[in-house]
Amino acid sequence: MSTRKAHIALEGKGLSLGYVHQKQRKEILSDLNFQLISGELTCLLGPNGVGKSTLIKAILGQITPWKGTLSLENQPISSFDLKTLAKKIAVVLTDPVFPGNMTVGQLVALGRTPYTGWSGKLSLEDHEIVEKALSDTKITYLKEERLSEISDGQRQKAMIARALAQDGDILILDEPTAHLDLVNRFEIMTLLREIAKNQDHAVLVVTHDLDIALETADRFWLLNCGTPLIADRPESLILNGSINQLLPGEKYAFNLSRGKVEAQLLENQLKIKGPKEQVFWVEKALLKAGISRLEHEVSVLSEPFTIQTEKGNFSSLDSFIQSLDS
């Protein structure tokens, strides 16, 4: 853990945001209050279309708030010019980036743009910062590779390294783990957590990946239509049930003991005996196959996996479900 005192990197007070479309004001977010804290990984969660991207645009100074204040170092964001802001906030966006001829090293070096002279030539210090960004994201070995020749996960790490090279206190990432496989999703989020902790950056990640966010985030911001933004530790949000705000309706709910979202198990008349884990998965498979009642009780054994019924024993779920269908 960082020994430095955590401070508020970014603060929103009574913030209202929206667009003017064909002379009509369309308010998207109203009365937001939040504090982005340094040294913490914050995850912004919410359904599609709730205004997460709008909030990010406001933080980047691309749209001005209608009401309220958005302040950086206790000054309104609008008072910073583009270049100064670029030295404080770096982003990884969802925009596709494909200059295939560019090497990873060149991409990361672009992060130094706000600091370099007219030709973009890097100073000795710039080179050191680029090297550090590459090693912090553990992609030094990719430095000479071209962007067209690396995987999506590697490219995402390169984009994070570029943002790090911009050397701001605040890092904002819009769905950095979309389209990535499970391992890469974990790696990216763990990397972001390390960056927040080791370099005392305030990291804000917009994500839909609740499972991984739960594992890695220090703080959640829940954004939902028509309700104020809720900010708290993820664990607190689970314990007080606020997390279910992400899941409108009765169909899905957060399972406290398993720590993940599940389809609410329907009231069922499945009579299954056996060890807890085995019963859970067998029940799940049966419900998914549309079977919600069994005439007779069955029991499940774990080693070797066997389902004992009065019609005989089955060694796999497949054969058991087939026997019920016939």
Binding site: L60, D95, P99
Partner: protein, 339 residues
């Protein structure tokens, strides 16, 4: 072996050779050695050779270098700004605009009663500049209104189509002689310029190049798209004006003086990317200048049809010679991946 450090010196050498080759080719046969001797010592084998080389071929070769580099530079800017490998110097309707100016002068002139013989090459250039400037300011007006660069690209293409339609209407109502004069202009020509016009063209191009050099860094940042560029402190709105002005002046004045020259502006940036295998504009800008100049010099040399008295129009040669070369190069590599 790593060739990269030698590419620029090699390019300069090639440029010099193409320049000399270009000087020695033409309807009058002048031996290569005589050309060099004449240029170095000032002693020409025949007085007519001195006339031909110094007052006709030399300015023409210079114009080829100027036009080739200017068109390539504006093409590269457009491709990067719009992040579109198909963009070229004329996508914003600039060549159509220059064409309209010239068309009004030549075609409407007959209706208004100028005699064709009174049309001087200076007035054609002026009409071209005015036409290009008019379309440029219309596009700028749109650029000021719209925020999205893709919209700007589409509007530019539409402007081009609309202006071409006006030219068609003018052509339809004009006489045969005027029509021929306009058609000849639209085929492009590097050789119609005297020394004073070459001077004016050089000054205009210099003005157009300055904004390119001051914004190399911004073009590199724009490779990641406007949103990223903005997040790195680049004023993308300002960049758009710089791009429109620079390409307008570069492509507009070349078109006004030499007529439309197709293909160079789109193809050369791709060739430069392939040769230097980079997307860094610190290399690509000078690289495109070099490749563009060499390519147009060679195309012009081919158009001389050595041994024949007549020449081919340069606009036809660039497409006829250049297109197959570029198609074959591009088919070998994945263009959009290397972009």
């Amino acid at each position: 072996m790593n060739l990269r450090p030698y590419l620029f010196p090699l390019g300069l050498l090639l440029l010099g050779l193409s320049f000399l080759l270009n000087l020695s080719l033409g309807s009058v046969w002048i031996p290569f050695g005589e050309v060099i001797e004449g240029l170095v010592t000032g002693n020409w084998g025949k007085a007519s050779w001195e006339q031909i080389i110094l007052n006709y071929r030399f300015p023409k070769a210079l114009v080829a270098i100027l036009a080739g580099s200017a068109l390539s530079l504006s093409g590269l800017q457009m491709q990067t700004f719009f992040r579109n490998p198909l963009a070229g110097p004329f996508v914003l309707g600039i060549s159509s605009g220059a064409g309209l100016g010239v068309a009004i002068l030549i075609l409407a002139g007959t209706v208004l009663g100028f005699s064709l013989s009174s049309i001087h090459s200076w007035s054609i250039a002026l009409a071209g500049i005015l036409g290009a400037g008019m379309v440029l300011s219309m596009v700028s007006l749109v650029a000021w209104k719209v925020k999205d660069s893709m919209t700007l690209l589409i509007v530019g293409l539409m402007f081009g189509s609309a202006v071409s339609a006006v030219i068609s209407v003018l052509s339809f109502f004009s006489g045969a002689e005027a029509l021929k004069l306009y058609t000849v202009w639209s085929m492009g020509s590097l050789g119609a310029l005297g020394w004073s016009q070459v001077g004016i063209l050089s000054i205009l191009l210099l003005v157009g190049i300055i904004p390119v050099f001051t914004s190399i860094k911004s073009y590199n940042a724009l490779l990641l798209g406007e949103n990223y560029a903005q997040s790195m402190g680049i004023h993308t709105g300002k960049m758009r004006w710089i791009m429109i002005l620079s390409t307008g002046i570069l492509a507009g004045s070349v078109t006004a003086f030499c007529g439309p020259i197709a293909f160079i502006g789109i193809a050369v940036p791709h060739l430069a990317r392939m040769i230097w295998k980079t997307s860094d504009h610190r290399v690509l800008f000078p690289g495109s200048v070099l490749v563009g100049a060499i390519l147009l010099l060679l195309c012009d040399a081919v158009g001389q049809l050595p041994g024949y008295a007549s020449t081919l129009p340069i606009n036809a040669v660039t497409s006829l010679v250049g297109a197959p070369i570029v198609i074959s190069l591009i088919l070998k590599r994945n263009l959009s991946r290397d972009f």
